[in-house]
């Protein structure tokens, strides 16, 4: 299976564990990702809060670059924010022919909006991907209780993402279940993590993180699983800080769902950057791998 690939700015930095675990899985199951040449910023929050056309045009250029490659593949996007921005562009261009032409004019290259944009939850939800992963797994995390946290942008706005549910999505739960881990039923799957406000408005944004962790804990989860570099960073980096500031004792490591898959396919901790987590993430995995007889 092949995709065009738009890594976005976080994959070599804050999202390094996401990147390493995706690469590990690719090498195991033969998934091929063709990085879009000369890609640019997706615009993120900054562009669409300033200028609508700029917010649509920046991703349009990336998608046009992918078309120019001539591979005729759908575009895989790991970051939820990049995914949202690019999906907005595809939908806008497909809904309105004038808009598509205008975007072509702005970016100065042809853009036909033929390719779909997919996040990695959508990709791994495909039956053939699940089958391929299943075949390569020889370790399990049987019994590990996890809270699958989707964040807001993989499902919202539903007019753009076409998500099956904005309140209780199940895609990640189903993928993670392949590892033997047990997704818990909980209520904060699609709540906001505070996104970039964790940096510029920490006072207002920190409680958003805490209530996610608190609800996961209250529903007996032992770890939180994400599918976005920023969600992952926010939860992972601030958990210890919250414990310190508020005297709480939250103890949930935060993993990307791909990390769990990679571990079960045999990845060592250093292969996928488990040692790079802010909140200690090694022991829990080890405990369950050992329990399962590895």
């Amino acid at each position: 299976m092949q995709f065009s690939y738009y890594p976005g700015c976080s994959m070599d930095t804050t999202g390094i564990t996401y990147k390493l675990s995706i690469e590990y899985i690719c090498s195991k199951i033969g998934l091929v990702l063709h990085e879009i040449p000369d890609w640019n910023c997706c615009g993120a929050t900054a562009a669409h809060s300033k200028n609508k056309m700029l917010a649509l045009a920046l991703p349009a250029r990336n998608l046009a670059q992918a078309e120019e490659e001539g591979l005729d593949l759908d575009v895989a996007v790991p970051c939820a924010s990049c995914y949202s921005r690019m999906k907005h562009t595809v939908v806008a261009a497909r809904q309105d022919e004038n808009m598509r032409r205008k975007l072509e004019e702005i970016i100065g290259m042809p853009y036909k909006a033929k390719a779909d944009v997919l996040n990695f939850l959508e990709i791994f939800s495909r039956p053939e991907m699940k089958r391929a992963c299943q075949e390569k797994m020889y370790r399990t995390l049987k019994g590990m209780k996890v809270a699958c946290y989707y964040g807001c942008l993989t499902s919202r706005p539903v007019e753009v993402t076409g998500a099956s549910s904005t309140e209780n999505p199940m895609e990640m739960d189903e993928i993670v279940a392949l590892t033997g881990a047990e997704p818990v039923e909980w209520d904060f799957k699609t709540e906001c993590c505070g996104a970039s406000h964790q940096v510029d408005a920490p006072k207002a944004a920190r409680p958003l993180i805490e209530r996610i962790i608190r609800n996961a804990k209250a529903n007996k989860a032992q770890a939180i699983i994400t599918a976005c570099p920023l969600c992952n960073l926010n939860l992972d980096m601030r958990e210890g800080e919250i414990n310190k500031a508020k005297g709480t004792r939250y103890d949930l490591p935060v993993y990307q769902f791909t990390e769990l898959l990679a571990v079960c396919m045999g990845a060592g901790a250093k292969d996928i950057g488990i040692h790079k987590h802010f909140f200690p993430a090694f022991d829990l995995l080890n405990e369950y791998l050992r329990k399962a007889g590895d």
Binding site: S165, T166, E167, N168, E185, W186, D187, F188, R214, N215, A218, N219
Partner: protein, 659 residues
């Protein structure tokens, strides 16, 4: 040669202020066939009508044109007037020179010209009018009421008390509908069952009412006064002629099924009576859950029945009867909120319940014998959140309309909780509080004084932490987020039409609105009638409403039926469609487009040269035809004419206008 008289009305200054009525009358004198024309101050008045009658005699008029207001206003007045003369009441045309001329124009010169043109059209048409005669149809004085909730019960009783026969149809094993599930009714806090069960018993005992439970509408044909209705009696597996309702079978049945009547919060048996006061007070077998009917094993009920009333061989049967009028009172159900509101747990939390579930919880004959206990652990809740407008006034997720009764029963729920659990806290999330009704605002006021906390805003999310439900919402008066911890959450959900209403509507040939409620003939002036003559509406099948409005509407529908039944024959309008079968090609376009199911295709004997053949042609049932003219427009061979508006007459009008 026709002898036409034209009478131009001043309508005080209504017409004469803008139209030179004398000039209109003068101009008409020159029209072919017109032998007399005049103007007069009030043509509809007694002296005005007398003048018309006098002129008919004096000038031997045989056709009349009145230039006045809209025919909706006085066409009937003038038709009645003509009954006393030699002129056929349908040899009359009204030229509307008020609503369509004087009221909408200011330039007198141009308005007069237009009035002359309108009058000329009427003269041209009246010249081609021919006498029409009303006919009568017999009225079968027996009514069918579909749906045995409080609306159907009230309507059936009113008609029966007036001395007419009624069949009351109910698809469930017992009548009573939603009202009998309720605990108390606002604002008087009457016990709902105590005031509705006597009516149910009265229905079953009334000599003029034939009660048919476990029955569904199968087929309807015919027309006002003469509906042929086929009804399906579903198999009950219990012979109600023999059964005394002793209840022994229920106690011995080993199969437990979730109780619909208690809204899923208790169990019943596979052979069951929906509730203690059910009417008829006899059990039926639920074939989907009965072991004997599903697996062939068991049969305990048959063994224990002292009267041998159980019959596992029972089959659905159908019967047909003739009815003069039909009342639709199929009621409502609550919206399935679970799929629409995953943010409220989507049904995952046992302690998030609907208002109807709460009614059962607080009811002395309910699953908890009237103690308000959480479904999850049977403990008494201390903090209760009530959420209004779940599914109502929410076009994105639910329905755009207001369900009308929820504001009041939410206040009633709050009152009941505060009364039964003295140290409890009740929080009501609301968008607006709507209390238009006698004593309603006072009741709401009292609930607030009881201590209910009203929070203006919607609940965005309900989640669970530490065994409690957390409701996060907005207080739009304070302009900030609020979270309320609760032990029990009650969702006051939207009313939607009862399941299966679409089929009933289709079989009766009546209309539904966009939300599936049955469409009344006129929202203000004909609220209990439908577009189909002889079919009436009562209660929530027409739209959300509370019990007083439902009962009022039921009595109104019954009065309409009694009015119809007060005559033994009914005059029908002669202005119906007519098929010229020699021109009809039997294509059936008219049958498809007729909104009243008045056209059927029939086979007739005909000749083709010397050969005898059978041919399909359209045939109009003049009892059903409402004279809308759709068929005449659709007919491609011009075989159909609407009497009173024939193609020829309309073309004459067009010709006159285009002279």
């Amino acid at each position: 040669m026709s002898r036409i008289g034209v009478f131009v009305c001043h309508c005080g200054t209504n017409i004469a202020g803008t139209v030179d009525v004398a000039r209109v009358a003068e101009a008409m004198k020159a029209e072919p066939g017109v032998v007399f024309a005049t103007d007069y101050k009030y043509m509809c008045s007694e002296p005005g009508q007398q003048m018309v009658k006098d002129m008919i005699k004096e000038h031997k008029l045989d056709r009349i044109v009145i230039c006045s207001c809209t025919p909706r206003m006085h066409e009937n007045t003038f038709r009645k007037m003509l009954k006393d003369t030699d002129v056929n009441p349908y040899m009359l045309e009204i030229a509307n020179i008020r609503e369509q001329c004087s009221w909408v124009h200011t330039d007198k010169e141009k308005a007069t010209e237009k009035a002359i043109a309108l009058a000329r059209m009427a003269v041209a048409k009246v010249g081609r009018d021919f006498p029409l005669f009303t006919s009568t149809i017999p009225i079968h004085k027996k009514a069918l009421v579909i749906g045995g909730g409080i609306a159907g019960i009230q309507a059936a009783l009113d008609i029966a008390d007036a001395g007419y026969q009624v069949t009351l149809l109910e698809r469930e094993p017992s009548i009573g509908g939603r009202m009998v599930m309720l605990d108390k009714t606002f604002p008087t806090l009457d016990c709902s069952a105590c005031i509705s069960t006597p009516k149910m018993v009265e229905v079953s005992a009334h000599p003029n009412i034939e009660l048919r439970t476990s029955c569904e509408l199968e087929d309807v044909s015919g027309y006002v006064g003469n509906f042929e209705v086929t009804i399906r009696q579903k198999a009950r597996y219990v012979n109600h002629d023999i059964c005394t309702g002793c209840g022994l079978c229920e106690t011995k049945c080993p199969t437990k099924v979730i109780s619909e009547f208690n809204q899923g919060m208790s169990e019943r048996r596979a052979i069951y009576k929906s509730f203690a006061q059910a009417v008829p007070a006899k059990p039926v077998i639920d074939p989907d859950h009965c072991r004997k009917l599903q697996e062939g094993k068991c049969g305990v009920c048959q063994a224990v029945c002292p009267l041998k009333a159980i019959n596992f061989e029972d089959k659905d049967t159908t019967f047909t009867d003739t009815y003069g009028a039909i009342i639709v009172s199929t009621g409502y159900q609550l919206i399935q909120w679970q799929d629409l509101y995953p943010e409220y747990g989507g049904g995952r939390f046992k302690d998030v319940i609907s208002g109807l579930q709460f009614e059962r919880l607080v009811n002395a004959s309910g699953p908890t014998e009237g103690h308000i206990l959480r479904p999850s652990d049977q403990t008494e809740p201390k903090d209760v959140v009530i959420v209004k407008c779940v599914g109502s006034r929410d076009p994105k997720k639910g329905k755009s309309y207001c369900s009308r009764a929820c504001c009041m029963y939410a206040a009633k729920h709050a009152h009941q909780i505060l009364e039964k659990i003295p140290d409890s806290n009740v929080y009501v999330f609301y968008m607006d509080v709507r209390t238009p009704g006698k004593g309603y605002e006072e009741f709401y006021d009292r609930t607030r004084k009881d201590g209910a906390n009203y929070i203006r805003g919607r609940v965005a999310k309900i989640y669970k932490e530490g065994g409690r439900l957390i409701c996060r919402g907005e207080d739009s008066l304070l302009g900030r987020q609020v979270t309320v911890e609760a032990d029990l959450v009650i969702l006051e959900t939207a009313m939607v039409p009862a399941d299966g209403i679409g089929e009933v509507v289709h079989k009766l040939g009546i209309a539904m609105d966009a939300d599936g409620w049955v469409q009344e003939a006129h929202p203000k002036l004909r609220p209990v009638e439908t577009q189909t003559a002889g079919v009436y509406l009562a209660g929530t099948c027409q739209g959300p409403k509370d019990i007083p409005d439902t009962v009022a509407q039921a009595s109104a529908a019954a009065a309409k039926v009694c009015g119809l039944f007060s005559k033994s024959e009914m005059e029908t309008s002669p202005m119906t469609s007519k098929v010229d079968q020699s021109k009809c090609c039997g294509c059936g376009h008219c049958e498809v487009c007729c909104p009243y199911k008045a056209i059927t295709l029939v086979e007739i004997d005909d000749r083709e040269g010397p050969k005898k053949i059978r041919r399909t042609v359209a045939s109009v049932n003049s009892g059903l035809c409402q004279g809308c003219g759709c068929c005449a427009a659709a007919c491609r061979t011009g075989a159909i004419d609407l009497l009173g508006f024939t193609n020829d007459q309309i073309l004459r009008e067009v010709d006159a206008l285009c002279q």
